[in-house]
């Protein structure tokens, strides 16, 4: 294959990565933005979503699309519920203290990951894609499902954005993000907003994971990479800025796809991580964000 088609392929792969990453990072960004909680267990919500997707899809026989649809609905719900319980039992009791919640979510990371290891095992398991249509381009065939992932992600991000900017729920969330005390004194149930946001953040990660399992198998350690990449995206995009998060996910996802085709992935990851740490050190408001509050 010559350079042009090769680059096109790499870009398409990058867009798939970016689509899933944007959804996952959006969840992390939302939780940080509204609650000021850095959720280190975010990657485990992603992993749990993938593993549950496998579990639900095996419940149904017949056309693979049925199992997939079931997973797409149920898996995020269960993950959201788990997050809700964790929020009520742990984060709320810590009064959302930033440092304590990080330590607690590290604990949560191990609990989820190791529970999955116990009940699901160390194997990697695939979920069959709901359809196997291939689009034939002049140079190569490309999976129709992957294009569906991109489209689905765009739709979900648009929906989230609409909820945040156009609805009362979004208004309440933004008010809470802007000033917790004032929001409380205006009668906003901050406590319930926090619980909802934490669950929603986890559900976004779970949806992303359900979308990706037909491409990448479910495994109990698969949460680490999305966690680190989401951190990278959220930091570059500016902590808590949704628009920045999407832009950064696109940048990281596409460049990750392109870079990993041409360079050693370890070196690429190393440099990316280092550069992002430097962004956090020298430009904590992110590359696209305005000044942090």
């Amino acid at each position: 294959m010559s350079f042009g088609p090769h680059l096109l392929l790499a870009t398409l792969e990058g867009l798939v990565t970016a689509a899933v990453l944007a959804l996952t990072a959006l969840g992390l960004s939302l939780v940080f933005g509204v609650m000021r909680v850095v959720n280190v267990a975010h990657g485990e919500f992603f992993m749990l979503g993938a593993v549950l997707a496998w579990a639900f899809s095996t419940l149904v026989t017949g056309h693979p699309a049925l199992g997939f649809l079931l997973a797409l609905v149920l898996s995020p719900l269960v993950v959201g519920l788990v997050a809700l319980v964790a929020e009520r039992l742990v984060l709320r009791r810590l009064n959302y203290n930033p440092e304590s919640t990080i330590v607690a979510t590290i604990g949560l990371l191990y609990i989820i990951q190791q529970s999955v290891l116990t009940f699901y095992g160390p194997e990697a398991r695939p979920v069959v894609a709901p359809f196997s249509y291939r689009i034939m381009l002049p140079w190569f065939g490309y999976s129709g499902y992957k294009l569906f992932v991109i489209a689905a992600s765009i739709a979900l991000i648009a929906a989230t954005w609409l909820v945040l900017t156009r609805t009362r729920i979004g208004l309440v969330m933004r008010a809470t993000q802007y000033d917790r005390e004032t929001a409380q004194s205006f009668g906003i149930p901050v406590d319930r907003v926090y619980a909802g946001v934490f669950a929603l953040g986890a559900m976004l990660a779970a949806v992303a994971a359900v979308l990706i399992v037909p491409i990448q198998q479910a495994h109990y350690l698969m949460g680490l990479d999305p966690l680190l990449l989401s951190f990278i995206v959220v930091i570059i995009g500016g902590l808590g800025s949704l628009r920045g998060t999407v832009v950064a996910a696109l940048l990281i996802g596409v460049s990750d796809g392109v870079i990993s085709v041409f360079f050693s992935p370890t070196l690429a990851k190393m440099l990316a991580t280092f550069l992002v740490a430097m962004v956090l050190v020298f430009r904590p408001q992110g590359l696209f964000g305005t000044t942090a509050r």
């Binding site: 330590v103 607690a104 590290i106 604990g107 290891l117 991580t273 740490a277 050190v281």
Partner: protein, 326 residues
């Protein structure tokens, strides 16, 4: 936090007596313990040094790092690679490992200390991740996950009349004990020194400390470097004493473990790191026998500690009963 205070002299002698008892008690384990636990005790003492290094920064200075695995790994590889590839002698390699940790800590400190709180935690974690990936990137020398095993001939120390065989269980135990004791005494000195008081003051109220004429940045940087040196010392000793140098020790897990040990034993207590390491090591060792997912316990322990027991074992004892505990 007594010390110069009017009741200083009495509490100082009590504290020193307690540490002497602990150090001698550990030495007595050398003859008391059966083989299996003897080996574990040697490991725990080295890992407790790691925890004490972490405690200097987290406990006393109040800086929560999520990347201390990089300092342990710097010591581990800084000592292990020259021995394995260049045939350096053990003492020189040990010193090299410590120096690597110190230099790394200086570089990381200068950068990471521009941030505070949550950002500091994430930046240190990311730097540590870079170091971890570097171990794989340099796979030709480090052999990544598989790691390097140091042979017996590489672990013999001959210094004039001194001959030490680091593969010998007694030698190993006594060296681990000596290292632990030295670092424990060092920690007590630091905790009681003016420098240690400034670190505590920075932890309690950085702005006020600055307005009393102290250079907060320089003091915090010193704490990072000191902490990095001690953790690298633990890493170097671990590699040389137990003969294995592998990438696992650079993973995030080894940044979380010292945090857990210190939280459990009691942050900003001199003996907390030892107690926390001992407890956690045995809990994990015990459950590993029948539970594959033993890290589950680490998760549960972290959450329970942070929720119900944030001062840890010794911190709580100090608060309730023994105010003089350093």
């Amino acid at each position: 936090m007594s010390g110069h205070a009017p009741d200083g002299a009495g509490s100082a002698s009590k504290a020193w007596a307690l540490h002497a008892v602990v150090i001698l008690g550990l030495l007595s384990l050398h003859v008391l313990l059966p083989d299996y636990h003897h080996g574990i005790a040697a490991r725990i003492m080295v890992l407790a040094v790691f925890a004490m290094g972490y405690n200097l920064l987290f406990g006393y200075t109040g800086l929560l790092s999520l990347g201390h695995a990089m300092f342990f790994a710097a010591g581990l590889y800084g000592a292990g690679l020259p021995v394995y590839h260049l045939g350096w002698s053990v003492p020189v390699a040990f010193a090299t490992g410590i120096a690597c940790g110190g230099l790394l800590a200086l570089a990381v400190g200068v950068l990471a200390l521009r941030t505070t709180g949550v950002a500091f935690m994430i930046v240190t974690m990311m730097f540590s991740q870079v170091a971890y990936l570097m171990i794989y990137w340099l796979g030709d020398w480090t052999r990544g996950d598989e790691g390097l095993t140091l042979s017996r001939s590489e672990r013999i120390v001959e210094l004039g009349p001194i001959f030490l065989d680091l593969t010998d269980r007694d030698t190993r135990f006594l060296l681990a004990w000596a290292l632990f004791s030295a670092v424990l005494v060092l920690t007590v000195f630091i905790a009681r020194s003016p420098f240690g008081r400034v670190l505590v003051a920075i932890r309690e109220n950085e702005e006020r400390t600055r307005m009393l004429g102290y250079n907060a940045f320089a003091n915090k940087l010193s704490a990072v470097v000191l902490s990095g040196l001690v953790c690298a010392m633990a890493g170097a000793a671990y590699g040389l004493l137990f003969g294995y140098v592998g990438a696992t020790f650079g993973s995030i897990q080894y940044s979380i473990l010292p945090l857990l040990w210190v939280l459990l034993g009691g942050a900003a207590t001199t003996l907390g790191p030892l107690i926390g390491t001992y407890f956690m090591f045995y809990i994990v060792d015990f459950t590993q026998g029948f539970l594959r997912a033993y890290m589950l316990l680490v998760g549960v322990a972290l959450i329970l500690l942070v929720l119900f027991f944030p001062k840890g074992i010794l911190g709580t004892i100090r608060e309730r009963w023994l105010k003089w505990l350093p």
